[in-house]
């Protein structure tokens, strides 16, 4: 058995335990990576699965409805009973969304098909039944069979209206308001017509919003308590007990997509993480763009141009040690030099009219990218230098002997051969930078950045803006949200996403390196 495994793993025979130990270490590290991913994927992705709602009756005749989350045995060595945690929602009715129940006290459980879970803009989820539908405050007479289809239809209408009002606001109202505020009109006639246009657009928005507020749901908890929920505050209504596996899968897919594509709500405790994904990617890309030329030039100087004396050796050792400086130190440096030093000066010179509110004199995308570029500079330098050192001198001399100057040799022979090594440096830099949170907290990451740093407004890329970051989002959701039970799955999902984002960025760079290698023919043969 062992022998067969040994053959399959190409472990040489008769060399004792050494090769087995080495193979064991490799397997162990692989196992841990896989376990990490499985844990993150399991906890994070399951969160979006529409779990069924249980209607629980206790031994004293009380009912409640909720999602069963997990069971917990009594503390070790103590007497007691196992407890089950339910997510019951309805914060507006009970002030609490979690409920621990002694399992022994559960008299019966059921899963009636008509239970709904309503995702709302305030008070979190509602769990209960739809008792009726109101139009302009008046109850609609609906039969049982009509009720659910009508609710769905009305909800779709609200969603459409919301899109319409958002589009109106973004595309018509805001540009007009901006033009007026900035005084961009030709003459007073033009100005008046602009103002009239704006008024009309505002009126249209109001009309749409009015239409949105027409309908309301009458919701009833399993204890018979009712709330009237305006339909415009509803994001989603599901009847998980009535859904087939396929319906659930579709709902899961929609929720995952919403998580990826929408902004956060309720102080990051709900909603999506799109701004954080975007911020992370953009920051890492800007960092790569900044660090690559600097690192490559520095490595070229150290390896190809500087006389190889004691000073160069000293600088090289210094660069290598810089890689070991804790990242928070770079954060402090970035804050002092980039934000206060350079940013403050830029504000004095170019944005004087906006002072005392800072433009570049506060943390932002640019300073964060530059700080991380500094952090990863040693990695790029070392990787590039190693690549340059691997190029045989015969290649350089071959070019020189054909009449190339040193600069031509560098540009036409040495640098192209070193591109894979440079990209390796960038890959390592991305791997190091994408997961850093500590320095970013000093130089520009935000808990909630209302605007992503890229939009349709000149200059399109807003380097001075604060941005969101997946790593910081994890920290924020996990540590600063009031409801830890609700936050944990989000933390797992966000962590998984962070790993995936880093993976995607790295794969891009690896793909690029492969492409370059292929283009340079059998270079690495």
């Amino acid at each position: 058995m062992i022998a067969r495994w040994g053959r399959r793993l190409r472990i040489p025979r008769g060399e004792g335990a050494g090769p087995w130990l080495a193979a064991g270490c490799v397997s162990l590290s692989l196992l841990m990576v896989v376990a990490l991913l499985v844990l993150l994927a399991g906890r994070g992705l399951v969160y979006f699965w529409p779990t069924e709602i249980e209607l629980v009756t206790l031994d004293d005749g009380q009912h409640f409805a909720g999602h069963a989350i997990r069971d917990e045995p009594p503390p070790r060595g103590q007497l007691g009973v196992s407890q089950r945690l339910y997510h019951t929602g309805n914060r507006d009715l009970h002030g609490e969304v979690w409920r621990w129940v002694d399992i022994e006290r559960i008299a019966s459980q059921a899963r009636p098909a008509d239970l709904v879970v309503v995702e709302r803009n305030r008070w979190g989820d509602f769990i209960g039944r739809v008792a009726g539908l109101q139009e302009q405050g008046r109850d609609l007479a609906l039969s049982e069979a009509e009720r659910w289809p009508t609710v769905r239809q009305r909800l779709e209408r609200v969603v459409r209206l919301r899109e319409e009002s958002d589009a109106l606001r973004e595309q018509v109202v805001e540009p007009l308001a901006k033009r007026l505020a900035e005084g961009r009109w030709r003459d007073s006639n033009d100005r008046e017509s602009l103002a009239a246009e704006l008024e009309a657009a505002n009126a249209r928005v109001l009309a749409v919003q009015d239409a949105m507020s027409r309908d309301a749901l009458v919701l009833e908890s399993v204890n018979g308590r009712r709330v009237v929920q305006p339909l415009q505050g509803v994001y989603r209504i599901l009847r998980p007990n009535a859904m087939s596996g396929f319906d659930k899968f579709m709902a899961w897919g929609r929720d995952v997509w919403r998580f990826l594509s929408e902004g956060p709500r309720a102080a990051n405790a709900a909603g999506g993480v799109w701004p954080a994904i975007f911020g992370t990617m953009l920051m890492v890309m800007l960092m790569s763009v900044a660090v690559t030329p600097f690192g490559v030039l520095a490595a070229v100087y150290l390896n190809e141009i500087a006389p190889q004396g004691r000073l160069t050796r000293l600088v090289r050792i210094g660069v290598r040690n810089l890689a070991g400086v804790p990242s928070i130190v770079y954060g402090v440096f970035g804050l002092g030099v980039f934000v206060y030093g350079i940013g403050g000066t830029l504000d004095e010179w170019f944005f004087h009219d906006r002072l005392p509110s800072p433009t570049f004199g506060t943390g932002g995308l640019l300073w964060a990218s530059l700080t991380l570029a500094l952090l990863t500079l040693p990695v790029v330098i070392v990787a590039t230098e190693e690549g340059l050192a691997r190029i045989p001198d015969a290649q350089r001399e071959g070019a020189l002997a054909l009449g190339a100057t040193r600069a031509e040799t560098l540009r036409r022979v040495v640098l192209p051969m070193a591109v894979p090594a440079m990209l390796t440096g960038v890959i390592l830099a991305i791997a190091r930078a994408a997961g850093e949170v500590a320095p970013l907290m000093l130089v520009g990451v935000a808990k909630l950045a209302p605007q992503v740093p890229v939009d349709g407004e000149f200059p399109f890329l807003h380097l001075e803006r604060k941005f969101m970051h997946l790593g910081y989002h994890i920290l924020d959701v996990g540590f600063y949200s009031g409801d830890i039970e609700a936050a944990m799955p989000l933390v797992y999902a966000t962590a998984l996403l962070l790993v995936l984002v880093i993976l995607v960025l790295n794969l891009t760079a690896i793909f690029l390196r492969h492409h370059v290698k292929a283009r340079h023919g059998a270079l690495q043969r």
Binding site: A401, L402, R412
Partner: protein
Amino acid sequence: MPVFDSVTDPASPASAVSTAAVIEIPASASCFEIEGLSLAYGDTPALENLTLRVPRQRVTAFIGPSGCGKTTLLRALNRLHDLNDEVRRQGHIHLEGQEIHAPEVEVAELRRRVGMVFQTPNPFPMSIYENVAFGLRLQAPLKKRQRDEMIEWALRSAALWDEVKDRLHDSAWSLSGGQQQRLVIARTLAVEPEVLLLDEPASALDPISTLKIEELIRSLKSRLTLILVTHNMQQAARVSDYTAFLHAGELVEYAATDALFTNPRLAQTENYITGRMV
């Protein structure tokens, strides 16, 4: 062997000069004039007080035991030693009457005029075509047709055209060692040098490739000056017009090839060419 001792004794350079047998090439017929050239890597001397003239449009062979300084001498002729801060040099080298170390000499242009083929083939990691085009692209831009013609001519001159004409855009590293060596020669010829320095161009080649390179050397003699370093006595005898025998950084004997091989003046030379000193 009293002669041997006096020649190798570095403490008495005067005796070395007096015992060396060096043919005088008239200055008007010489391409390189080397005068009192000494060169050391740090504190290790590699060449000592060399004085010789290399005739124009002839093949001159440098022979001598391994480590005697043949490569060092070749690299001095196109100033490749400039890259090494450790190297210290004394003496003069004139190319067509011009001191090559003079400040007004542009080293890149000098190296274009004095082409060099290294001991081990060093094609660039590019296509065959691009390897040959490399030197051309460094100069005034050519029309594509002219460049293609130059490349074909260079590859034909290096007797490689027929083997690669259908795969010009394959990687140069996919060629065999002998083909790579001829490619490197073609690459050097493409920039039309006046002098070609060949450092053991056939050391790693099979007899047929070697023969091709020897033919190539003979055919190139009409348009350029060739300097050939070789360990192969027969090869030196076959292709060269003049032969210089170096030992431990010093020039021992320099004569017309026929004279040197049939009738060496010094016992040390005779011992080397007959293989008795190895």
